[in-house]
């Protein structure tokens, strides 16, 4: 009964206060009942969006206050042991959540791969299958044209012109979805092709300096291509850049790639901390890089342009693990 009354009062107390008072209670011999509440407190901390580091600092503060009140050596020893049990109990819900996130990341990676396969399939259908159909239409029109009087032939000529436009658009969409060069020649030629198109359309110079030869495993090449693609799109659409520089080089066993622009830049902390669209794009990029064992650094600031730097260790072991994925 006493306990139920205590619980009703508690939600008003701040997390810090409740932590300190429960820890004190446990150190004084509170037993399993207090541990059970420590567990509920951990759950509450998650619901209040406290990070694990917040919890560590709350724990540290509570422990320090408790240790100050405990003067003799034996008592301190007990407090230390009790506080370790207590902290473990509080962190237990975080362990559960962490395992959940691990599963979610695995699912996300799988989804990325599935998406890439789908894109490949659509790009192929648009390019090859639709292309072949168009050729057949052209042939049929040519047959028909021979038997038609002059005015209708001219009309047919205009239709042919339109069909050619359709074909050109389809080819461009297909290559932008997934350039065949990426599979045939590798990520650097694919990036050159992509940059050329963007440069023309957005009317801004993209300077490429790539001193790299040889191919990487398929998943790594795709990830690199997608990251450069996303960076270029961001630079053009959001940053209003006037120049873009792409550099790729290899140093010892590490591949480096940097995409820099002289656009507006942004506050990186705010963008990555907020769950808006912009933040999501950056998080997705990070995730793509870590899926192939690399790291990504984003440097930017209002008025300072943006640089995305990618680092990918190329150990034989890594190359194998990439292939296995």
């Amino acid at each position: 009964m006493k306990m139920a009354a205590g619980r009703k009062k508690r939600p008003q107390a701040s997390l810090e206060e409740e932590y300190a008072s429960l820890l004190r209670e446990y150190a004084a011999g509170g037993g399993e009942a207090t541990l059970g509440r420590a567990y509920e407190l951990g759950r509450r901390a998650i619901a209040e969006r406290k990070s694990l580091l917040d919890l560590a600092s709350i724990h540290h503060g509570a422990l320090r206050a408790l240790a100050q009140d405990t003067n003799n050596g034996k008592g301190r020893e007990d407090v230390l042991r009790a506080s370790a049990d207590f902290l473990a109990e509080c962190m237990s819900p975080y362990e559960m959540a962490q395992r959940g996130f691990q599963d979610a990341v695995r699912a996300l990676r799988q989804l990325n791969e599935t998406l890439e396969q789908e894109i490949k399939r659509i790009a192929y259908a648009v390019h090859d299958e639709a292309g072949q159909l168009l050729v057949a239409v052209h042939l049929a029109l040519a047959d028909m044209a021979r038997e038609l009087p002059k005015p209708q032939q001219e009309q047919l000529g205009r239709i042919k012109g339109l069909l050619n436009e359709v074909e050109k658009h389809l080819r461009r969409y297909s290559h932008e979805l997934r350039p065949t060069i990426l599979d045939d020649l590798g990520w650097i030629p694919a990036i050159r092709f992509l940059a050329e198109g963007i440069s023309k359309r957005a009317n801004l110079p993209i300077h490429i300096q790539a001193r790299i030869s040889g191919r990487l495993p398929g998943p790594a090449e795709t990830a690199l291509y997608r990251i450069v693609q996303e960076s270029l799109n961001n630079a053009v659409k959001h940053a209003k850049a006037r120049n873009i520089w792409i550099r790729a080089w290899r140093e010892n066993q590490v591949l480096h790639c940097s995409i820099r622009d002289d656009g507006e830049g942004f506050d990186t902390h705010r963008a990555q901390g907020t769950p808006g669209r912009k933040g999501l794009g950056l998080i997705a990029m990070q995730e793509r890089v870590s899926a192939i064992g690399g790291t990504l650094r984003i440097q930017s600031g209002p008025g300072q342009g943006t640089e995305i730097s990618l680092r990918l260790p190329l150990e034989t072991e890594h190359v194998n693990s990439c292939r296995a994925r």
Partner: protein
């Protein structure tokens, strides 16, 4: 043991932790077992009002382990796959509740019948 109140949950946790220690589980694993018991007992109290939890030491050819069975005669779970999916609405975070219990333990079995009740049996083996 019967689960009707917060005190019963405490008792179940205590017995689970003691049994885990007796079976030789490390204290970290004992904490996870107590956590699973908390989540299962919490579900009983929240959805069925009352129920039972039984604990048992078990053994297969190579390992010893602990079996926790939580059962109730509550309303049951109409859609089990949905109950095992991570959601933010009920628990406030991804990974808590039943999906969390499943990840903490090595084996997980659930049976439920609408208006008949729910039984969840989980096992954890000592590494």
């Amino acid at each position: 043991m019967a689960i009707n109140s917060d005190q019963d949950i405490v008792l179940a946790r205590q017995k689970g932790r003691a049994m885990a220690a007796e079976l030789g589980f490390l204290s970290g694993d004992a904490t996870l077992i107590a956590t699973a018991i908390s989540e299962l007992a919490r579900n009983i109290v929240t959805y069925a009002g009352k129920g039972h939890i039984t604990l048992k030491g078990i053994q297969n050819s190579s390992h010893v382990g602990i079996l926790v069975v939580a059962s109730d005669h509550g309303p049951g779970i109409p859609d089990i796959p949905q109950a095992l999916r991570d959601g933010f609405s009920t628990s406030g975070s991804l990974g808590l509740g039943l999906p969390g219990v499943r990840r903490l333990m090595d084996e997980f079995e659930i049976t439920s019948q609408p208006s008949r009740g729910t039984t969840v049996a989980v096992k954890k083996w000592k590494q």
